[in-house]
C-alpha cells in the first residue's frame, strides 16, 4: 500500500548544526510511528518539516502522491498537536476547535456539528463554552487533540503529547489515543523522548541521534535485535561484550574467559560486539556448567534484584533476577547461564 506521508532524503541545517541529516521515512496508512531520541536529536525538526513549519534544505516531502515540499503549513492535510497545546487563550474551547474548520470554509450548522463531534470524541462535549485557562491540564490536551481531529487530517503529528501530563494520566491517555486512532483510521507520528511511551504507542519506532535515524523497526525488534550499541542502550540496561571471532565462527570474549556461539558469519580475527540483556541471564548457586562469579553488589528493585557479578578474570556481568527463590547474598559465589538465542550481535 502506498505510504500516506513520505519523507525522502530530507536534510535541514540551522547555521552550522545539521538538525536533520539525510532522513527518509514512510508513514503507512493507519500506522503509528514514533520518533524517539534525546533532546536535540532532530526529532522535533523532522516533525515540523512534516507539518510545513520548517522548510527542508534538500529532499522532498510527499503526502499521498502530492509533492508538498514547498507547500505552506496551512495548505497541508496534516495537523499537529503542539507540546504547549497552543490553545488560543482568547477563544472558547468550541471556538478553538471550530477555528481550523472555518479556515476550510465550513460554515453554519455544519461547523457547529463537526466541532461538537470532535469535542464528543474526546469526551469534552459539555465544556465548549469554557476558555482554555478554565480547564485542567488533561482537558487542555483533549481540546488540542479535538482541534486537530476536527479537520480529519491524513496524518496527526503529536509533539511530546504526554510531556505536560501527570504520570498517572499518561498511561490512560496513551490507551485513549490508540483507541481514538483505531476509530478514526488516521496515521500518527509521535515525537517523544520516553522509550516506554514509544514502545507502548507505536507500530514502528525510529530511534534518532544527531539528525539521523539509527534504526526504524517495530518495538520488539528494537529491543531484541537492536542494530547497534546506541539503540541497544536506549532500550534498557544491557551487557555489551567485545570479542574476537575464531576460525570456527564462535566468538572469544577475553575479559570473561568464555567463548560463545553466535549467529552470522565472521571472519577469523574480526572484532565482534556481543550483547545480552540482564533479564535473560539465569543465576544459580555454584555447581553445573556456566560462567562462575561472585556477587559484588546488588540492588533490590521489588519485583526483581539486579546483581553485579564479578568473574574470576575481573569482568563484571549485570544480571536481573526475579525475586522468586531464595535471594543471593553479598559475596556469594554463583553460576550464570543463558540460552544461546539470547545473545545478540551488534554492529560496531
Amino acid at each position: 500500500m502506498a505510504p500516506v506521508l513520505r519523507i525522502d532524503a530530507v536534510t535541514k541545517r540551522f547555521g552550522a548544526v545539521v538538525a536533520v541529516d539525510d532522513v527518509s521515512i514512510d508513514i503507512g496508512a493507519n500506522e503509528c510511528v514514533a520518533l524517539l531520541g534525546a533532546s536535540g536529536c532532530g526529532k522535533t525538526t523532522l516533525l515540523r518539516i512534516m507539518a510545513g513549519l520548517e522548510q527542508p534544505d534538500s529532499g522532498r516531502v510527499f503526502i499521498g502522491d502530492d509533492d508538498v515540499t514547498a507547500a505552506p503549513p496551512y495548505a497541508r492535510p496534516v495537523n499537529m498537536m503542539f507540546q504547549s497545546y497552543a490553545l488560543f487563550p482568547h477563544m472558547t474551547v468550541h471556538e478553538n476547535v471550530a477555528f481550523g474548520l472555518k479556515q476550510d470554509g465550513i460554515k453554519g450548522a455544519e461547523l457547529t456539528v463537526r466541532a461538537d463531534e470532535a469535542l464528543k470524541a474526546v469526551e469534552l462535549g459539555d465544556l465548549g463554552a469554557r476558555k482554555p485557562h478554565q480547564l485542567s491540564g488533561g482537558q487542555r490536551q483533549r481540546v488540542a487533540l479535538a482541534r486537530c481531529i476536527a479537520k480529519r487530517p491524513r496524518v496527526l503529528l503529536l509533539d511530546e503529547p504526554m510531556a505536560a501530563l501527570d504520570k498517572h494520566l499518561r498511561e490512560r491517555t496513551q490507551l485513549e489515543l490508540l483507541a481514538l486512532r483505531k476509530r478514526l483510521g488516521i496515521s500518527f507520528v509521535v515525537v517523544t523522548h520516553d522509550q516506554g511511551e514509544a514502545m507502548a504507542m507505536a507500530d514502528r519506532v525510529a530511534v534518532m541521534e544527531n539528525g539521523r535515524i539509527l534504526q526504524l523497526a517495530p518495538p520488539r525488534d528494537l529491543y531484541e535485535r537492536p542494530a547497534n550499541i546506541q539503540v541497544a542502550r536506549f532500550f534498557g540496561d544491557i551487557n555489551v561484550w567485545n570479542g574476537v571471532a575464531r576460525s570456527d565462527g564462535a566468538v572469544e570474549i577475553a575479559h570473561l574467559g568464555i567463548t560463545v556461539a553466535v549467529d552470522g558469519k565472521h571472519v577469523p580475527g574480526e572484532s565482534v560486539a556481543v550483547a545480552l540483556r540482564p533479564e535473560r541471564i539465569a543465576v544459580a548457586p555454584v555447581g553445573g556448567p556456566g560462567l562462575r562469579g561472585r556477587i559484588e553488589d546488588l540492588v533490590y528493585l521489588g519485583s526483581g534484584t539486579t546483581y553485579f557479578v564479578r568473574t574470576p578474570l575481573g569482568g563484571v556481568v549485570r544480571v536481573l533476577a526475579p525475586n522468586t527463590g531464595t535471594p543471593f547474598a553479598h559475596g556469594e559465589s554463583v553460576t550464570l547461564t543463558w540460552p544461546a538465542a539470547a545473545l545478540m550481535v551488534l554492529a560496531p
Partner: protein, 267 residues
C-alpha cells in the same frame, strides 16, 4: 531587608510630597503661593476663562491623539519585525535607531527635527511655517520607541506556538495576524498608545523647536508662565492634570487587575 524598606518609604514620600503641596495650594484663596488664607476655587474659575490655555490644551490633545496613533503603527511594525523576523540585514542598526530616542537628549531631537522641517520647507515648500503636523511627526519620532519596546516584549516568548498552530489549522498569514496576533497584542497596543499619548501631552522641549507660531501646546504655555513668575492658576492646572492622569491610570489598573484575576483562576 528592613533598611531597604525604609528607603522605599522615604523615596515614595520624596516623590509625592511636592505633588501634594501643589494640589493643596491650588485651593488657596491667596494670590501668594506660600501663604494659606483659606479655601477657594477662584483659580479654577480663572483657569477655565483663560482662552490661551484652553486653545493650547486643545492643540495638545489633537497632537497627542494623532501622534500616539502614528507611533503605534510604526512601533508595532518594528516590534513585530524584532520579535518575529529573526535576523535580517541591518537588524543591529535598526535596533539602535529604534532605541536611540529612549535616551537621546530632547534638545538634540528638537534641533535636528526642526532643521529637517526647514529643509523640507526649503526644498519642497512642504508645511511652510510649521504647525500641528510637524508636532505630530516630531512626537511620534520618539514615542514610537516606547511602543516598539512594549510590543516586542509582549510578542517574545511562547506565543509563537499559537501562530504556528493557526497556520497548521489552515489559516493563511493574514488570517493568522487578524485572528491570533492582533488579539494577543491588544493589551500591548492599548498601553503603548496610552504611554505615547501621555508622553506627547507632556513634551515641552521638542515642541518648542518644531511648533509653528499658531500651534502652541499646553506645556509651552505652562513653561512661559512659570518662567514669568508663579500664578496660582498654574497650581489649578497642575492639579487637574494630576487628577486626569490618576483617573486614567486607575481605570487602566482596574482593567488589568480584573484580567489578572481571571488569569489567577488557571490551575
Amino acid at each position: 531587608m528592613k533598611p531597604a524598606r525604609s528607603v522605599l518609604i522615604a523615596g515614595l514620600i520624596f516623590l509625592y510630597l511636592p505633588l501634594l503641596v501643589v494640589l493643596i495650594y491650588s485651593f488657596n484663596a491667596s494670590r501668594l503661593v506660600t501663604v494659606w488664607t483659606g479655601f477657594s476655587t477662584t483659580w479654577y474659575g480663572e483657569l477655565f476663562a483663560d482662552r490661551q490655555i484652553l486653545a493650547a490644551a486643545g492643540n495638545s490633545l489633537i497632537v497627542a491623539v494623532l501622534s500616539a496613533s502614528l507611533a503605534t503603527v510604526i512601533g508595532t511594525s518594528a516590534g513585530l519585525a524584532f520579535a518575529r523576523f529573526g535576523s535580517f540585514r541591518g537588524r543591529a542598526l535598526l535596533t539602535g535607531a529604534m532605541a536611540a530616542p529612549l535616551v537621546l537628549p530632547e534638545v538634540i531631537a528638537g534641533i535636528s527635527l526642526l532643521l529637517l522641517f526647514v529643509a523640507l520647507e526649503q526644498t519642497f515648500d512642504w508645511m511652510p511655517g510649521r504647525g500641528l503636523t510637524t508636532l505630530v511627526i516630531a512626537h511620534a519620532s520618539f514615542t514610537m520607541s516606547y511602543v516598539a519596546v512594549i510590543v516586542q516584549a509582549r510578542l517574545s516568548g511562547t506565543d509563537r506556538d499559537l501562530e504556528e498552530a493557526a497556520a497548521d489549522l489552515g489559516a493563511k498569514p493574514f488570517t493568522v495576524f487578524r485572528a491570533i496576533t492582533l488579539p494577543m497584542l491588544r493589551p500591548a497596543l492599548v498601553s503603548g498608545w496610552l504611554l505615547a499619548f501621555i508622553l506627547s501631552l507632556d513634551d515641552l522641549v521638542i515642541s518648542s523647536f518644531v511648533a509653528g507660531p499658531q500651534s502652541t501646546t499646553l506645556p509651552m504655555v505652562v513653561f512661559s508662565s512659570i518662567r514669568l513668575g508663579v500664578s496660582p492658576k498654574i497650581n489649578a492646572l497642575a492639579t487637574i492634570l494630576i487628577v486626569i492622569t490618576l483617573a486614567a491610570l486607575a481605570a487602566a489598573a482596574w482593567i488589568g487587575l480584573s484580567r489578572q484575576k481571571r488569569r489567577a483562576l488557571q490551575p
